[in-house]
Symmetry: D2
Subunit: 292 residues, 4 copies
């Protein structure tokens, strides 16, 4: 029997368009947000408002959340007014936040004890992908739960991969941030070498982006940095939050990541300038600073 | 008046298919190689053999070379039997090797004093791109010379960009190697984090490669490393040669590249195992080694 | 009026000899330890046992603690049976553990509200220095409190410096660990370069340690590593705990420390081998591993 | 039979006081310098001037040199007017410059073919140590040659160690520079962490320098940086020259040195500011720059 009623908790830059896409796909959507004003546009579009995460869960077969950090997920899922107090046995909770894999596993365990399934399903693709419904979604949890919820995920994303048991989705998201950070450093060092050697970095990016050095970062974010455009796609402060999750998880499993550790130190250099809300392409400036 | 007669010096893994594509494109091709046996297949296909770089240049309007390092280019261009001793005034020498930008500028200056133009035109795309005629070619030199030689370059490559004066082509090639190296490190650290956290790296690559973390390296070389396939596209020893050019050039212009310096140290770890002829995807093992 | 009655909480490898030195210096000493068996040797030497941190504080003008981490200090100082519930107004609490500067400041604030002064007084010098009473002690807190407690600290240490307000002692201890870590890396890279170039590292250390490259680590720990002696002075796992405090504190103040970040990743390489209880001189092996 | 007649080639900041100490010790000294004006003070003190390195060698049982780089040593030792053309069979050439181990071995081989012994004997201790005659001298060569020349070396240095065959002296000097560089980075990161956390770095250095984090750099150069004194003991440009020798030698033996590679990149950041003639303590500013 197909899922019809879904809930959405956390209507921020990512969550709001994701919930909107669920509405567009025909689901009955119930929403909640910490600051209630953000629910209005969705209610105007046909969603129902609820007054707690528990109430969202009580009204839904599948309840999703997209919030800021591990502590928020713990609160939303298992806090005094959390999903766990409203969810029916046999319903599913899907968290799309980026959090510690261990937190995802702990929440899954607690919900499982009440007969509620969980998927960790962090996303990649930014607000652009959230609006367009083209997110990449990396999903951890049991295969039958994944299969059952696939139509819900397909309303929000394009590349949707079941990568393993609970926590695995978060692990893959952390791997994603490792690659994003180092691909940005690649662009940053190439741009600076080009500039210092007197070669127009825009021309460099044009040809380098066509071969074995190509990357999404080189094609999409690097040209912005070259043009002095530091408006965020994804903010440095959020990237640092994620890299801290990466380095903590790597520390727990004793996995040395010397490159990622360097990237994180360099992003701190941007934060030290008070530019934590700039986009991640500002990493180019951390390298530039060293050559001044 | 269109170029008809071209020469090619250095018929190695890259040079031989590049020369073959010039033949296919209808140019009259004269060739020379240090070990003469390598000229035979081209001569069998219609090229003429010559007995020195000078003789190649004497027979050609445009003479190309693709050899191993800066010293080889100096020898081939300006040595006792070099291009400079055969080239006609108004002819052009195009070097496709990866060498120090300074060497390229020096050779251009010497040739210029004899009325011979030069382009530095290093390529990216590997033997696969050389055979397919789809190389990216980054060209330094004067604009009219570039325009005049464009049909020759188009016989060998697809993305062909004039990036600045002599030496600029080499600078851009070094930027290319910076980005290749750090994109590989991105893949290496992501793969290791995934594995150590118990998540199948192949699944990780599948979803991570679909979003903002995408790169040519992640899609093309990382899966080989995951499968234990270390056969070279591009060998570690050659990458290290190029990274040394990068770090020397960066040193000369006082451009700190902390990420590239780290990558170079990690490739040394592969060389220390006696695996310098493995493909660059073996960087994954340098990170893996740290977690063993 | 001179301090006569002191308490000591936490009788581990460091705390037990520190408390013993207080006894030897003539103070009346009351002690408590989580596992009570460890109090016996001190009680046999003349200390009184108490059954909680609060009870220790109630019996003391100055109460010291030396425990494992920030959470332990919070428990011992402000937990249900903590110092705060027994300490008299006007008495002093001195914590000698290595913890987050922020935790030290928070505990000081809570105690201050009850009229109890606090010093953060982490130590350096290992169990050897603790036994010999030659510890370096870096003290944060108000100057008059420092002056009043100086005789107590002098019973345990030799170099005792008041470095600033509450938290400053911990900051300086973190700086100490930064320098220890990078000085170890200095020794590790020098030893490996020497060995790989065929030169006896013991001879190298002999002469290098006599000049501008001299360090305590080079003279004291490096020769042990050269001889394959990895018995701990200070264990890798504890060093990593401290480096995590360093990197978290640096992160909070946006202070990039690329060298320390690298050191921490390399220590993880030792932990990955299951050697977290080896001494920190095993960092030499993390570099050696890269060259194998 | 004791050595009586010694020669000295290269009377720079190091060489001039070293030659002066040989005079003071009672040796008959013959000198040569590229710019002849520098010989005068020594001739005034009793040395004889000669008009080429060959002439110095012809007049000496032991000929020393202290020049800038590998190319200078090759010229002075084996060039058209080099030591090799004047030295008697059975005499000894001692080079005190810091050069590539391979160059030292090559020069030794060439001299050996003419019956001339060689020692590579680079020094550490700066102009202060050169004047005071307290240099550390790390000596490569055959043991009997070392024994025979020991009285000559003792006139210039205090810690004099025979570390292995030809080239080994240079290897040990490179190890010395590795340790100097990373010990400086230790001081730089500790100072910056202290400052950013609001703790007076002078007080930090006072206590940290008393324990396990102690180093010559922390005690001698770090306080200068804290006081904004960047006058050279040893200049950044010279340190970078040496670190390039280190990284080249490490590259040749495939010895990954990630910490030293980072130090070298950070020194480039000082050179990029046009401060290559500042003292090496300016590394503190490279870290400071990242936090601005």
């Amino acid at each position: 029997m197909a899922v019809e009623r879904v809930g959405f908790i956390g209507l921020g830059i990512m969550g709001a368009p994701m919930a909107a896409n669920l509405l567009k796909a025909g689901f009955q959507v119930t929403v909640w947000n910490r600051s209630p004003s953000r629910t209005k546009p969705l209610v105007d579009s046909g969603a129902k408002g609820a007054d707690s995460p528990a109430a969202v869960a009580a009204a839904s077969e599948v309840t999703l959340s997209c919030v800021t950090n591990s502590a928020d997920v713990e609160e939303v899922a298992c806090g005094p007014q959390g999903v766990i107090h409203g969810a029916h046995r046999g319903s599913t909770y899907i968290d799309c936040s980026t959090i510690a894999p261990e937190t995802a596993r702990n929440v899954a365990r607690e919900l499982s004890a009440r007969g509620v399934d969980m998927l960790d399903a962090p996303v990649s693709g930014g607000d652009v992908g959230a609006k367009a419904g083209t997110l990449a979604i990396m999903v951890g949890g049991e295969a039958p739960v994944f299969e059952r919820c696939l139509p819900v995920l397909q309303a929000m994303g394009k590349t949707i991969v079941h990568v393993g048991p609970n926590g695995a989705g978060q692990v893959v998201k952390l791997c994603n941030q490792v690659a994003c950070g180092l691909n940005l450093l690649a662009a940053a060092e190439a741009i600076n070498l080009s500039r210092r050697a007197g070669v127009d970095p825009a021309k460099m990016l044009e040809v380098v982006g066509a071969g074995a050095a190509a990357s999404w970062m080189l094609s999409n974010l690097a040209p912005r940095a070259v043009n002095g455009d530091y408006a965020p796609g994804f903010m440095v402060d959020l990237m640092q939050k994620d890299l801290r999750l990466v380095l903590d998880a790597a520390n727990d499993s004793h996995t040395p990541l010397p490159g990622t550790a360097l990237v994180s130190q360099l992003f701190q250099s941007i934060q030290a300038e008070g530019r934590g809300t700039d986009g991640t392409q500002s990493l180019v400036d951390a390298i530039a600073k060293l050559a001044r």
